[in-house]
């Protein structure tokens, strides 16, 4: 437990100055009641300090796991508060990514536990460590402000904003038509089984049926969903705001694709090498939140990711595409002279439209 700090509020300073001045006046005038008024002001300071310290000493807090949030939203840090005394006017404060939030507790009853989330505006996309929770108490009369910092281990994940994309960025086929980025289509023959009443006659496998002298039909698997390989350029050195915009664009594409039933594989190359995430929206979104600009240049990154990109035409989201001559669908910031562009809010559109 760290030692609480105590500092006077403006009211406390005013009280102190007034007490000093009135003491001099009382001494000169030898006015007994004025001495009592001075004593009362000093008592205000003493009682104010004691109640302020009491407000932070008897409080115990536990910080729970912080649910992820989205850029521009609110971070709600769940805090469980318990006190061995009835305390009033206590504030809980937390700072995450430069954003400060406070919650005010008018009263904390003795012996009771209560949930009191600390809400603050979400900072920029990323992952933040909540190092401490601050307990602030002005006491009952606000002469002093006591503050105690309690260690709190919690992770705050801020995910990128996203928007629905009208047209997903896809490649262009040799005949000029749109090429859906998938490498499998149609039903695959899965196997042969016994004929069941109701099976279509056209599915009967005659050769196998003749061989085994009983009716056998073909069995097919569900057609594979289209797979979108989404590569995000995590090149080291790019401004954080640029990577944030790229992450938003990638989130918009991934969200729209998933809504349309596609499978999305997110790929990037970071300081630890190539990384992929394939899964549901939560997993992709979380990965985009944790993305950091610590990787190699895009061309190198694509080279390292090559093994994961076979038979696909990846969609590459990059804030600095440069003159990339690779068979990719490039999505870059507006004005980059690419076929697809995105803006700072993550809206993706075809440059030609």
């Amino acid at each position: 437990m760290r030692t609480p700090s105590l500092r006077p509020t403006p009211e406390g300073l005013a009280c102190l100055v007034l007490a000093g001045f009135l003491f001099l006046l009382a001494t000169n005038l030898m006015a007994g009641w004025l001495f009592f008024l001075v004593a009362f002001l000093v008592a205000l300071l003493l009682v104010g300090g004691v109640t302020a310290l009491r407000g932070v000493r008897h409080l115990r807090v536990e910080v729970g796991p912080v649910p992820p949030t989205v850029e521009g939203g609110m971070v709600a840090i769940p805090v469980l508060v318990q006190s061995s005394r009835t305390l009033r006017f206590v504030r809980l404060a937390a700072v995450v990514g430069g954003q400060r939030g406070e919650t005010f507790l008018p009263v904390v009853e003795r012996g009771t536990k209560r949930q009191s989330p600390v809400r603050l505006a979400a900072p920029a996309r990323g992952v933040y460590a909540l190092g401490e929770i601050r307990l602030i108490s002005p006491g009952l009369i606000g002469m002093f402000q006591a503050e105690r910092r309690l260690p709190a281990r919690a992770e705050v994940v801020v995910r990128p904003r996203y928007q629905v994309v009208n047209d997903l960025p896809v490649g262009v086929s040799d005949n000029g038509g749109a090429e859906v980025p998938q490498h499998r289509r149609g039903y695959e023959l899965f196997g042969i089984r016994e004929y069941l009443p109701g099976d279509p006659a056209r599915h009967i496998h005659w050769r196998s049926s003749a061989r085994h002298r009983r009716l056998l039909v073909k069995e097919f698997e569900e057609p594979a969903a289209p797979i979108l390989a989404l590569v995000v350029d995590a090149e080291r050195g790019q401004p954080p705001a640029d990577l944030d915009a790229a992450a938003r664009a990638a989130a918009s594409i991934a969200w729209t694709a998933l809504q349309r039933g596609w499978q999305v594989t997110l790929l990037w190359c970071g300081a630890d090498g190539p990384a992929t995430v394939r899964g549901d929206w939560e997993q992709l979104w979380d990965a985009l939140a944790r993305l950091r600009a610590d990787g190699p240049p895009l061309s190198q990154a694509l080279g390292r990711l090559n093994a994961h990109l076979r038979e696909t035409v990846p969609v590459v989201v990059s804030s600095r595409p440069g003159s990339l001559r690779l068979p990719v669908v490039l999505v870059a910031p507006a004005g980059s002279a690419t076929a697809w562009e995105y803006d700072r809010d993550g809206a993706v559109r075809c440059a030609a439209s």
Binding site: L18, G111, T112, I141
Partner: protein, 722 residues
């Protein structure tokens, strides 16, 4: 810049009506407190009404552009300052009323522009200044009647302010403004009616701490002021022309006076030693000064055998167009000035009608009073042109001399002729044995000072101070009767005896009447002089030094021992002295004294010790001292109460038996659903994730109350059927 100005204009207005109401009450109490020390008449209520109106106006307009209001208020402040300076220039010696009015106008004008919480706080700050001014002018306990409600209102205001500040700080922390999904409306910082009990409890703690701080606050010597207080010029009826009028004895004259317990018979042209009676204990004046000294009133030079009188009533007029009136000592007050004596300021606040005599420490040099002239006789009795009425204030500046015993030893016997002529006077009717006694006592004295000390000690040790003596049983000389027959008496008898004995021994002496220093009140810091403090003592002339006071009456302090600070260094000393003096004035019943021979002297300490012991006992019974009970979960407390209730029915939880098992067993016997419900609450509180929620606590208390009621009902029912 535009956003900044808009913020300045609009500000974060304070929307708490409770905070405003209590701030207004705080200010109003301070207005009444500061206007209590003078007669402000209708102005007091006008100001109070305007303050209330101002707070209402501020509340209504708190969100609007008030530039024109600020301009008007600025003009108002300038006008108030101008009026104040004008009043000062007309009468620079009476600043209390103009200053009070100026402060009141500032507070009133400020009340019309209070949009923000910090403006309300500033009002509270200025109300403290008003209270301070009221405290400075107060001379009695009436201020306490304003201080307590003011302190309570201020505490409530501070509690509301802290609550509102906390809410504002949390809101400004960025949580609420941009919240796309704001939480449900939060609980108000304070529920209705919650603040007053909190503030009342807080006030108790504050007063206790303030009391302790007050007891240990050092009191240094002060009164370094140039403008000394006195009552403004008043219209006086018929002015006196140098005579002495004692309102308690208006008939004056010769003959045995009829004793009046409301006034001392020694403050007239004559002192009749045959008068018997006991003065009451009413406060006649309060004195603000730095030293405790006797307040000399009148000097008597002729002993008549039955009393004293002032022989020479010729007076000299002292005037001044502007205060102070400079005083020149009378012809008989011959002092040898050795260096510059220190300046002693004494301000007298008259509480009961007094004679037209300026009581003061000897060697008065200046007097500030509501008048432009005084009369001074040869004895330096300062006679006023009017009697001192209740409520009057006057200030005297004296330069007392405190000669050392060595100086008095070296004084010699070179008395001026006019001193010997007047102050060795004795009536022819004085019995010779008085002079014989005087020679016996002083025969071996080497110096006049030694002779004075011998006579002084003789009277201290051989005679008893007694206020219950009856009338003189046989006619004759009063001093002779005292010395040889009665051997006990009032201070007048002692002082007269000493003066007569010294005169018989050839040492000039005279009788002086006035008041003893009184008792300092620990809260006001003023010396309270009562009727019963009226006193008579002796002044003895020493060549080269002047008139020196001596105290012949036993149990009265030697004037040489006076001159100590009027106010004790520490507050607790003041309280101890004050209550000791008040208790000492109470005579225990005879049966108490017979049981406790020392009760008279030790009674104050016995009372104090007894009070402390009773207080400790009460605290211990209340559980506040010495042990501190650690806090317990309320649901656990309720379950413990349930166990106690069931134990009375013979149902006790066995060691190792779980609460649920015990509840089932108990229910089989008692059949109350609250047992299992309370057990379930206990399990939830102890093992659940949220602990003891407020709902659980309330439910547990409810069930415990139901069980207790049921228990009482069963018991009553059982008795009814028995």
């Amino acid at each position: 810049m535009r956003r900044f100005l808009t913020r300045i204009r609009r500000g974060g207005d304070e929307g708490s009506p409770a905070l405003r109401v209590w701030t207004a009450l705080t200010v109003l109490v301070s207005v009444f407190a500061i206007t209590a020390h003078e007669d402000f008449g209708a102005l007091r209520f006008s100001i109070a009404g305007l303050v209330a109106l101002g707070f209402l106006f501020s509340w209504i307009r708190r969100r609007r552009n008030n530039t024109w209001v600020k301009l008007l208020l600025t003009a108002g402040c300038l006008w108030a300052a101008w009026v104040f300076l004008q009043a000062l220039s007309q009468d620079p010696y009476h600043t209390s009323i103009p200053l009070t009015i100026f402060l009141l106008w500032l507070q009133t004008l400020h009340s019309f522009d209070l949009p923000r919480r910090r403006d309300l706080l500033f009002s509270v700050l200025t109300s403290v200044v008003l209270m301070a001014v009221a405290a400075a002018f107060t001379v009695d306990m009436a201020f306490g009647a304003f201080f307590l409600p003011y302190a309570l209102a201020a505490c409530v205001t501070l509690v509301y302010n802290t609550a509102e500040a906390g809410m504002a700080a949390a809101a400004g922390g960025g949580s609420a403004a941009s919240d796309p999904a704001p939480a449900a409306p939060p609980r108000p910082a304070l529920q209705r009616g919650e603040a007053v009990p909190i503030a009342a409890a807080l006030l108790g703690a504050l007063l206790a701490v303030a009391g302790l701080v007050f007891l240990f606050t050092p009191r240094l010597s002060g009164l370094f002021i140039t403008t000394l207080p006195f009552t403004p010029t008043i219209s006086i009826g018929e002015r006196l022309q140098g005579g002495i009028i004692n309102p308690a004895y208006p008939q004056g004259g010769d003959g045995t006076q009829v004793f009046n317990p409301n006034g001392y018979f020694g403050f007239g042209p004559n002192v009749d030693l045959r008068v018997r009676g006991r003065l009451n204990d009413r406060v006649v004046m309060r004195v603000r000064t730095t030293e405790r000294r006797n307040w000399r009133g009148l000097v008597f030079d002729v002993y008549t055998g039955t009393g004293w009188r002032i022989d020479d009533h010729r007076v000299r007029l002292h005037t001044a167009a502007v205060p102070p009136i400079e005083l020149v000592h009378g012809r008989d007050d011959v002092y040898a000035y050795r260096g510059r004596a220190r300046r002693l300021v004494q301000t007298f606040y008259i509480q009961q009608d007094q004679p037209n005599v300026a009581f003061a420490v000897p060697r008065a040099e200046q007097i500030y009073l509501p008048g432009d002239h005084v009369y001074v006789d040869r004895y330096t009795n300062v006679r006023l042109p009017f009697t001192l009425d209740r409520g009057m204030i006057y200030t005297v500046v004296s330069r007392p001399l405190d000669p050392t015993p060595e100086q008095l030893q070296r004084a010699g016997t070179a008395y001026p002729g006019f001193i010997l002529e007047r102050y060795l006077q004795l009536p022819p009717s004085l019995p010779p044995r008085v002079a014989v006694l005087a020679r016996q006592l002083t025969g071996d004295a080497a110096t006049p000072y030694d002779a004075v000390r011998v006579v002084n000690r003789y009277l201290w040790t051989q005679y008893r101070y007694d206020l219950t003596i009856g009338p003189q049983r046989r006619p004759g000389d009063a001093v002779d009767y005292f010395l040889f027959a009665e051997r006990r008496g009032y201070c007048e008898q002692f002082a007269s005896a000493m003066a007569v004995l010294l005169r018989a021994a050839g040492i000039p002496a005279r009788l002086v009447t006035g008041y003893t220093p009184g008792t300092v009140h620990p809260l006001t810091g003023l010396l309270e002089v009562r009727n019963s403090d009226a006193h008579a003592w002796v002044e003895v002339f020493f060549p080269g030094v002047g008139w020196v006071e001596f105290e012949p009456t036993p149990s009265f302090p030697d004037p040489a021992a006076l001159g100590d600070p009027a106010v004790p260094r520490w507050g607790w000393e003041g309280f101890a002295r004050y209550f000791s003096a008040r208790l000492a004035a109470v005579t225990p019943p005879a049966w108490v004294i017979s049981l406790l021979p020392a009760a008279g002297k030790t009674l104050p300490w016995m009372v104090i010790a007894g009070s402390l012991g009773a207080a400790l006992l009460l605290l211990r019974r209340a559980g506040r001292f010495p042990a501190r009970v650690p806090p317990v979960d309320p649901v656990l407390e309720s379950y413990a109460a349930l166990l106690r209730l069931l134990a009375r029915r013979g149902l006790r939880r066995a060691p190792g038996e779980t609460p649920r098992e015990f509840a089932r067993r108990a229910n089989a016997v008692v059949d109350r659903p609250e047992i299992e419900s309370l057990t379930a609450l206990l399990e939830t509180s102890v093992f659940g994730p949220n602990g003891s929620t407020p709902d659980a606590v309330a439910a547990a208390k409810r069930m415990t109350a139901l069980l207790q009621d049921a228990r009482r009902f069963d018991r009553a029912d059982g008795k009814r059927h028995a």
